[in-house]
């Protein structure tokens, strides 16, 4: 579904992604793990067109999206929950969600969008009470839920999540991972998950990649990763 071929991305002169390739099949949950600063977030930015790669190719459903503008990419059905949430602090929770549907909102599907509100509030009942509150005054965890909910409002075919568990209470992390599984099974959303919490992430995914200083150093089905001694030591803390 999403294929990335030999991309090289730079911040100024700093080469961060070095000939990186990976692919995600329809309906999969794929986890990407890697140390701090290895380039995970950079990869997601490159996919979204926020930091277009200087070389290489990104193909989504047989369409070359390497140099498309971010808005266009979103319209094609890719959504990102960015690292650090990036919610719209001065707007209400509800407006944040509404903006999530910007790419597909029109007069005709208004009721559809409204129905999606309920879907999101079903997923995160915690937010229901805070509908009218300004998003900036939510606690960290609430903001994370909002960010995910907002991304889902665009009904993406593939959802990219950058460290969704960061700063969340264990019970909520558990919940979010459960929700991610549910998204896949019920809505057939494909998911690329970037996580520090490697063990839990791998538990729910089909395959995984390990990124080190801008290169994929290991890839394979979940079991392979969970059993690899090197990965166990470096990322699972065992």
């Amino acid at each position: 579904m999403l294929r990335i071929q030999n991309i090289r991305s730079f911040y100024g002169n700093l080469l961060v992604l070095k000939n990186l390739s990976l692919h995600i099949n329809e309906g999969e949950i794929v986890t990407l793990i890697g140390a701090n600063g290895s380039g995970k977030s950079t990869l997601l930015k490159s996919i979204m067109g926020l930091l277009p790669p200087r070389q290489g190719l990104i193909v989504f459903q047989d369409k070359d999206i390497t140099h498309l503008r971010t808005e266009k990419i979103v319209r094609l059905g890719i959504a990102l929950v960015p690292e650090g949430r990036h919610i719209f602090a001065p707007l209400s929770v509800q407006d944040n969600l509404l903006l999530g549907s910007y790419s597909r909102y029109s007069f005709r599907n208004k009721s559809e969008v409204m129905a999606d509100f309920d879907r999101i509030f079903d997923l995160f009942p915690h937010l229901v009470k805070k509908r009218k509150q300004l998003a900036g005054t939510l606690s960290g965890g609430e903001q994370q839920m909002l960010a995910i909910g907002r991304a889902l409002m665009s009904r993406p075919r593939i959802l990219l999540l950058d460290e969704p568990s960061m700063g969340l209470a264990p019970i909520i992390v558990e919940d979010i991972f459960a929700k991610i599984t549910k998204l896949r099974s019920e809505e057939k959303t494909t998911i690329l998950l970037v996580e520090q919490n490697a063990e839990m992430a791998l538990d729910i995914s089909d395959r995984g990649y390990v990124l080190e200083t801008g290169k994929i150093v290991f890839q394979g089905p979940r079991e392979d990763l969970l059993e690899n001694a090197e990965i166990k030591r470096a990322y699972l803390g065992k």
Binding site: R69, T70, F88, P90, L98, L99, S154
Partner: protein
């Protein structure tokens, strides 16, 4: 008078709401609107409505050009650099206007006939005031509806707060910024067009509109359109009261002093919500 400040303040707010930039060339938009209106209506003698529409469109285009030429090319500008750029742009606009239109003052008749006044309980109010208030009312209602009730308006606010996140929502951020300049220039142009019969204009009038508008925008709580309008009107009334009853020397100073005191007591402006104020980045 206050309604002019209010209109100018609204222009500031729009760009601020969409980009987080304070556009110091806003006053020049008003000036341009006034000059062009005087030209089209008084010199070319176009019908009022036609002249008005042409003026607003022209000024809006200037706003667009400004955005395309000066704001757009920048990759990652700091707020201060943007402010300086708008100041430089305003100097340039002033210069160009001076060349094209000369240094004279331009004025024109009231929309509804020369020097018509309405008697309102003893006080004589020029009819043009009602034109101004009318335009102001329409603009304010339009803006309130736009920013608070339409998706595009909310998208614009989202853009101002976090452009990256906005583009992740599929919002075409660059077009939003362009549009905000277009809109605020259009409102500036409108303000200029309706006030020129009362206040006249020359190529240097921009600064005054700019300062007063900025004051009203801040006074009312930046980004808050309702606040801007109220603050603009309050400022105008305070000025008139000071000039009329206290000292005409200090008629500009006193309202400012009041403004400062309000800011000291309520750092986010008269109508700015404090919580929202803290969340905005500067």
């Amino acid at each position: 008078m206050g309604s002019i400040y209010a209109l100018a303040a609204l222009g500031f707010n729009i760009i601020y709401n969409a980009t987080g930039i304070i556009n110091f060339a806003q006053g020049e938009f008003v000036m341009l609107g006034a000059m062009l209106m005087a030209y089209f209506a008084a010199v070319l003698k176009l019908p009022l409505l036609l002249a008005f529409i042409v003026v607003v469109l022209l000024v809006a285009c200037v706003g667009l050009i400004l955005e395309r030429g000066c704001i757009h090319p920048l990759k990652n500008p700091s707020i201060l650099v943007l402010v300086m750029i708008t100041i430089a742009a305003s100097i340039l606009l002033k210069g160009v206007t001076m060349f094209i239109a000369g240094k004279e003052v331009h004025g024109m008749e009231y929309f509804s006939g020369e020097n018509t006044v309405v008697d309102m309980g003893g006080a004589k109010v020029p009819t043009q005031t009602f034109w101004i208030l009318g335009v102001l009312g329409v603009v304010v209602c339009g803006l309130v509806i736009f920013f608070n009730l339409t998706l595009a308006g909310k998208a614009m606010r989202a853009c101002a707060f976090d452009r990256t996140a906005a583009s992740l929502m599929g919002i075409p951020t660059k077009r939003m910024v362009m549009f905000s300049f277009f809109l605020s220039a259009a409102i500036g142009g409108m303000a200029g067009a309706v006030i020129v019969p009362i206040s006249m204009a020359d190529y240097q009038s921009g600064a005054m509109f700019g300062i007063k508008g900025f004051g009203a925008a801040v006074f009312g709580g930046l980004g808050n359109n309702f606040g801007a309008v109220s603050a603009g009107l309050i400022l105008g009334i305070l000025e008139a009261l000071t000039a009329g009853y206290l000292s005409s020397h200090y008629k500009d100073a006193l309202p400012l002093a009041v403004l400062l005191l309000v800011l000291f007591v309520k750092p986010s402006g008269l109508f700015g919500s404090e919580a929202a104020g803290r969340l905005k980045k500067f």
